[in-house]
């Protein structure tokens, strides 16, 4: 057998390399889909914890998910590790975008040196992965996630499943590394057919025939599957149950020598703490896959002005299978999440960044439904840029994102007065008793009880006043229809107006003189 040619030390090293390569691969892929730019520092002196001599941070939740999927096994021949990236819209539609596959085939390279050549080539392969993850179409989509859709990931082990990518998916090979027990290959299959995005999301017509219909089936929690959001951030200081120090036995090889490694494996490298804006404005619905309490999935709420009302329903107990995470604790309500001012200069985008889910362990069985007002997903009236003429793979989608920015209430606030927003948010969370049910687009009537200025004597109190003037009608001159119709009339009436002004020119001159 192939293994007998390998010394026990080499076999042990190789298994360790493959294991950590798989974990780092998952980290690189998920971090590339977080929607933010990644930046790590070069260190001239090795710390002993940077596998493959690359500074790749370890997000604990991602490592946990990867280890769970691997369940103590290693990628091998016939046992592939796959990371599936998908997109889920605010309406609940989801679509697989790409699947990254770490596979092994039977072609062995017996002569290769494990501790040196294989290690360096795995490092090179990770660098290639860093480069390629920015090049596939899902990267641009992930950078724009937040308001209307989120990017989710799922790790699975076993056979590669590519059927969810639609017809005509493309494959790009990241690279291969030969080892004495087989050749490791890393590749990505990505969807090219995003047609449903342009029809389903914006025109709300029936899905195009040929698209996999089950993407649109609204199974309760079912269409989440085992998806995790790519923009999830665990609290920076909270070790939780994912303490990486359990791998303290595993020291990464930064020294190509017989001398012992300099340092034990460190559990984590620090990464950015979550950034929040305005507790009262922010809502974060969490839906839980009832079949598997570990699958806490967090979606982006709609921050800011249109508000939102997180609802909390009673906590359900954990299933017995996850006995080691036996504690059941409830997620704190949204309005207790501390307000952290946004520190980034990226403006509107930052508002939809990370969520801090305090103290959520995998067994926090919490169901929060999310109700929001219409505003964020209003169909843009009038012209829509047709991009069929542009020869781009995601042409149908790209200008939509641009359109969405115009519709984005964060960029262009709605007519209601801006100062009402924090007040509105907190008042809504106080008076949010009645509304419930699943996420809807319809305007939800909430009994508005202002905390002050309520005068029983007068027929009009602050609340009534506020309600009446919250959505004043558009100014006539700003209405599109009126303006397009009257444009011609305006032009026609110009000569008459000019004649009148010329006639009264003496009056105007006298007026100007009084000003001087």
């Amino acid at each position: 057998m192939m293994d007998s040619d390998l010394s026990p030390q080499d076999k042990k090293d190789l298994d360790k390399f493959i294991k950590f390569f798989a974990l780092k691969t998952v980290q690189v892929i998920v971090q590339a889909r977080l929607g933010e730019k990644v930046c790590t520092r070069s260190l001239s002196s090795p710390t002993g914890s940077d596998w493959f001599n690359l500074a790749i941070k370890d997000i604990p939740e991602v490592t946990h998910e990867a280890k769970k999927a691997l369940s103590g096994q290693l990628p091998g021949i016939g046992r592939s590790m796959c990371v599936e990236i998908s997109l889920k819209t605010s309406e609940g539609d989801s679509m697989e975008l790409e699947t990254w596959c770490l596979e092994m085939n039977e072609k062995c390279d017996k002569d290769i040196k494990v501790s040196y050549t294989v290690y360096n080539r795995l490092s090179l392969l990770l660098k290639s992965l860093l480069a390629i993850t920015r090049v596939t179409p899902a990267y641009k989509l992930s950078r724009k996630q937040g308001h209307d859709y989120v990017i989710l990931y799922r790790i699975y082990f076993g056979e590669v499943q590519l059927t969810g990518l639609g017809e005509g998916f493309q494959t790009v090979r990241v690279g291969v590394v030969g080892t004495p027990i087989g050749t490791i290959t890393l590749s990505c299959a990505y969807r090219t057919n995003l047609a449903f995005m342009s029809t389903r999301q914006f025109e709300r017509t029936a899905p195009i025939m040929g698209i996999i219909i089950d993407h649109f089936v609204e199974r309760p929690f079912g269409n989440m599957g085992h998806m995790r959001p790519c923009n999830y951030r665990a609290p920076g200081e909270d070790e939780g149950a994912y303490n990486g120090v359990e791998d303290s036995q595993e020291v990464c090889t930064t020294s190509f020598s017989t001398s012992p490694p300099s340092q034990l494996y460190c559990s984590r490298l620090s990464y950015q703490p979550p950034v929040l804006v305005g507790a009262a404005d922010f809502c974060h619905p969490s839906t839980l896959n009832a079949a598997n309490p570990h699958q806490v999935t967090t979606q982006m709420g709609i921050p800011g002005k249109e508000g939102g009302i997180p609802q909390q329903v009673p906590v359900q107990p954990c299933h017995g299978a996850q006995a080691e995470h036996g504690r059941v604790s409830s997620c704190p309500p949204a309005d207790h999440v501390p307000a952290t001012p946004s520190s980034s200069g990226e403006g509107a985008e930052t508002l939809s960044r990370s969520i801090e889910v305090k103290g959520v362990s995998p067994c926090d069985v919490l169901e929060t439904t999310f109700t929001r007002k219409v505003g964020a997903f209003v169909n843009k009236p009038g012209t829509q840029v047709t991009t069929a003429s542009l020869d781009l793979p995601f042409a149908a989608f790209a200008p939509r994102a641009y359109d969405l920015e115009e519709n984005d209430p964060m960029v262009q606030p709605p007519e209601s007065p801006a100062t009402s927003s924090p007040l509105q948010g907190s008042l809504h969370s106080q008076g949010s008793g009645e509304s419930g049910g699943p996420a809807q687009d319809d305007f939800v009537m909430v009994d508005f009880k202002p905390a002050f200025s309520k005068d029983d004597l007068l027929p009009m109190d602050l609340g009534t006043f506020y309600r009446e003037f919250q959505n004043p009608p558009q100014l006539a001159s700003l209405t599109i229809d009126v303006s397009s119709q009257s444009m011609a009339e305006d032009l026609d009436s110009l000569p008459e107006k000019l004649a009148v002004y010329e006639k009264n020119i003496d009056e105007f001159d006298a007026f100007v003189d009084t000003l001087q």
Binding site: V38, C39, S42, L54, A55, F256
Partner: protein, 217 residues
């Protein structure tokens, strides 16, 4: 030893030249840089850590990853800046920028060290002028896609795992790697360029370099 030679070609608008070149050169250097070597007793060494960062282009719909090293970035930008200046502004033109990885071979006095290239990347650049904003917008996206394809090509070549210089001993490390940077250690490289003017004649720095090399011998 045969030198491996790879050619890439891109067509860009004038203001995209810098970013397109940076994107491709940094992608190559990402793969051709390691952490700093620290030699210990008994001829063993440990390797420092290479950090990476995402860079978004302003004039192209494209993002790329480069090594986190300001020194390296400055050196590449300087070379690209010189190339851009040589290409001129606002004119259609063609040029070629080459990134060459080499090893130094010590020679006896009075001969100077030989530079033996083992991998050369030649990026041909075709500069176009566009008439209006709509064309520029389309160009932004198209060039972004093209650069993506080039990155895939680069990765494909790199992952063939063909010749790489042997890891050197401490005394030889400067013959293989550029050890002048404080945070990373790329293989020894040099960037040269040549410009073809619109008439197609070659006004090149290559000639100058040839003469210089001949005289140096």
């Amino acid at each position: 030893m045969n030198c491996r030679s790879e050619a890439l070609e891109v067509s860009v608008e004038g203001r995209q030249v810098d970013e397109a070149m940076l994107a491709l050169l940094h992608t190559i250097l990402l793969h051709r840089s390691t952490g700093k070597f620290h030699y210990k007793k008994e001829g063993t060494y440990s390797i420092g850590t290479v950090g990476t960062q995402d860079i978004d282009c302003d004039f192209i719909d494209f993002s790329f990853v480069r090594v986190s090293s300001d020194e390296l970035d400055r050196a590449i930008r300087k070379a690209v800046g010189e190339f851009k200046d040589a290409m001129g502004n606002g004119m259609d033109g063609m040029g070629q920028i080459s990134l060459e990885f080499y090893q130094k071979k010590k020679s006896r006095w009075p001969f100077s060290d030989e530079c033996i290239p083992w991998e050369v990347w030649s990026i041909k650049v075709n500069v176009v002028n566009l008439a209006n904003e709509q064309e520029r917008q389309i160009c932004r996206e198209k060039v972004g896609e093209k650069l993506g394809e080039k990155v895939i090509n680069i990765v494909e070549v790199i992952n063939r795992h063909e010749y790489l210089p042997k890891m050197p001993t401490q005394s030889e490390v400067d013959n293989v790697f550029d050890t002048s940077l404080k945070d990373v250690q790329p293989y020894l490289y040099k960037i040269t360029f040549q410009i073809t003017d619109t008439l197609g004649t070659s006004v090149s720095t290559t000639m100058r370099r040839l003469i210089k090399d001949t005289l140096a011998l």
